[in-house]
């Protein structure tokens, strides 16, 4: 195997993992603190991608698209929380799953109504195109490197916010005892709305970053959402550290499976077997990984103690 290629695939895996982390962080925060299963998290990812692409096309400025896409996802998230999800916090998970499933149908169709059912074209500005030389003759796309940077920066920021600030302290307190926090005079409703909006903005960020790489179309959120579920199940639901670890593991495993399983099977078996079984096994790999992790650690790699 070519070492340069392996290195590139590792970076690809990191880039995908970081994207998964941006989604997983919001989802796991919302679950850990409000005890809410939000299937519509993927819809916020889609909203971010659509708004950013649309505003970029309108204004011709990528930066304006990014800012308005983020703001849009935040706003939509807050509206959804206030209108529909707030009443669901006290309900059981079944009701939450079904109501947010209804929201997904609503958002997918709304997007199809506004921008059509086919994928819309999303591109990068000139200054983000091209490759950068890392060392030796290794070159890597600038934009993907940027995504890795943004993701790691968000992870650091999140850690600082949750572990070191007053808001983070309230969030942690709200997660362990909601009633006590409210009794101490904290506006818990507002806190929940802030946390949900923050998660929505992170999902929007993941969506708008993914726009130029993957396709921007109705239903794009659900494909990644289910992979994000795998991530937080592996990491331990409610744990941000677990979300980061799970995201990077899933990102790298999935990328390597797709890149190397077929050639690997071809050498140890036959090319015919590799062509049929390779892609099939590669697409199942992260789910098998999840099953293995669960067999040994039923509460994930970083279980949350309650």
């Amino acid at each position: 195997m070519n070492l340069v290629l392996v290195f590139e695939q590792t970076l690809n895996g990191l880039q995908f993992g970081v994207m998964l982390f941006l989604m997983a962080a919001g989802l796991t925060l919302v679950f850990g603190i409000m005890n809410l299963v939000n299937l519509a998290h993927g819809s916020l990812y889609m909203v971010g991608a659509y708004l950013a692409t649309w505003f970029y096309q309108l204004t011709g400025s990528f930066a304006v698209g990014v800012v308005l896409g983020l703001a849009g996802a935040l706003a939509v998230g807050i509206v959804v929380e206030v209108v529909a999800l707030r009443t669901l916090y006290e309900r059981d998970h079944l009701d939450q799953v079904l109501a947010t499933f209804g929201l997904i149908l609503f958002f997918n169709e709304l997007v199809a109504m506004l921008w059509g059912r086919t994928a819309i074209f999303s591109s990068l500005p000139e200054y983000l195109q091209g490759h950068v030389g890392l060392f030796g003759n290794v070159r890597y796309p600038l934009y993907r490197l940027l995504i890795i940077g943004v993701g790691l920066a968000v992870a650091a920021l999140l850690w600082y916010m949750v572990a070191r600030t007053r808001l983070g302290m309230l969030i942690r307190a709200g997660a362990s005892n909601r009633t006590m926090v409210a009794a101490l005079g904290v506006n818990i409703r507002l806190l929940y709305t802030i946390v949900f909006g923050f998660g929505a903005a992170l999902a929007g960020l993941a969506g708008l970053l993914s726009g130029p790489i993957y396709s921007v179309q109705p239903g794009m959120g659900e494909l990644i959402l289910i992979q994000v579920f795998v991530v937080i199940v592996i990491g331990g639901i409610g744990s941000i550290r677990g979300a980061l670890a799970g995201a990077l593991i899933v990102g790298v495993v999935d990328t390597f499976g797709r890149a190397y399983l077929r050639p690997l099977l071809a050498t140890i078996w036959s090319p015919v077997v590799a062509d049929t079984a390779g892609p099939a096994i590669a697409s199942m790999l992260i789910y098998v990984l999840m099953a293995i992790v669960l067999a040994f650690r039923p509460a994930g790699l970083f279980p949350v103690v309650r």
């Binding site: 299963v37 998970h93 079904l98 169709e109 199940v233 669960l294």
Partner: protein, 319 residues
């Protein structure tokens, strides 16, 4: 024999369904035969889901998997020239039971949110498996080579015979589930749902009961899958799409969780609603074209405001 009101409702429902073919023939509306056969097939799947979701308290968000496994068992055999239903259908049941055993062995050990996400994830895995196997149509799916043959006993090509076969299987599924729920096994399953520590304290370990229910449920849903592929005459991974799992859950909730008639009522309500939103000529085109938008809103409202489901409207003893 003295039946309760709820049993009478079921008997009337089945009698109404039995009257559909002659009525459809009399009014020359074969479309309705097709629609109600579809409703009944999904009702069988919903009955199977209700066993674990309603009575077992296991919120499976991946029930479409067994619909898919049952359909693929029939479709793959037919693709290789084996069209005997005597062989296909037991295999469909066995295969979905096996898959349910594998998925259940991992997921039943967990509960709550983990269970929801894991069942969803495994179904997605099977979906991608279906998508990636080009031999059986991959993404696009493949025409079913021939409907299942039952040595001339029942001709699935005849719409009315196929319809009555589905009705009979539905009635059997509801009956078997009712007997199961009333048995010692069913009582233990429901006890574990209501209060796990107490159930353990009286000496019943919930895991084997839950896993058994999970496997029975998967096998029953596999039959629905075998029927579905014979109904559509087309094999596609879309049977296992995660939205299908969501729809099945909705049928159970809409109809009334842990009730005998609920899954049938829910399947009929949801599929008729979908059909109405898509094709009712009195609705403006803006609605029929984007019907899923309105369906989504209706579903959210149902969850927020209607708690008991349709079967909850029937007066009498509630579980």
């Amino acid at each position: 024999v003295k039946f309760s009101l709820r049993t009478w409702v079921l008997i009337v429902l089945v009698a109404l369904l039995a009257a559909v073919p002659p009525l459809a023939a009399a009014f020359q509306q074969p479309f309705y035969l097709d629609l109600f056969r579809r409703i009944m097939i999904f009702a069988i799947a919903a009955v199977s889901l209700n066993l674990i979701l309603g009575y077992g308290g296991m919120v499976s968000f991946g029930h479409a998997a067994y619909l898919g496994v049952g359909a693929y068992a029939v479709g793959v055999l037919a693709h290789h020239g084996i069209t005997s239903g005597w062989l296909q259908w037991p295999l469909a049941i066995g295969a979905s039971a096996l898959v349910a055993l594998a998925i259940g062995a991992v997921s039943v050990r967990t509960s709550g949110i983990y269970f929801i996400m894991i069942t969803l994830a495994f179904t997605q895995m099977l979906y991608f498996l279906g998508v990636s196997i080009e031999e059986y149509g991959g993404d696009d799916g493949i025409r079913l080579a021939a409907r299942s043959q039952f040595s001339g006993l029942i001709d699935l090509g005849d719409p009315a015979s196929f319809y009555y076969l589905v009705l009979a299987i539905l009635a059997l599924a509801i009956f078997v589930t009712g007997r199961l729920v009333g048995s010692r096994f069913g009582r233990a399953l429901q006890a574990a749902r209501s209060n796990e520590p107490r159930t353990r304290a009286i000496g019943i370990a919930p895991y084997p009961y839950r896993l058994t229910a999970f496997v029975i449920s998967g096998a029953m849903c596999g039959i629905a899958g075998a029927l579905l592929v014979n109904h559509t005459v087309y094999l596609t991974p879309e049977f296992m799409n995660w939205t299908r799992s969501g729809e099945l859950m909705f049928m159970v909730i809409l109809g009334g969780i842990a009730t005998a008639s609920g899954p049938l009522l829910g399947a009929a309500a949801l599929l008729l609603l979908e059909d109405l939103l898509q094709g009712w000529s009195l609705l403006p085109k803006a609605v029929t074209e984007h019907w899923q938008l309105y369906l989504g809103v209706i579903l959210v409202l149902v969850v927020l405001f209607a708690k008991r489901g349709l079967a909850g409207l029937i007066p009498g003893k509630h579980e």
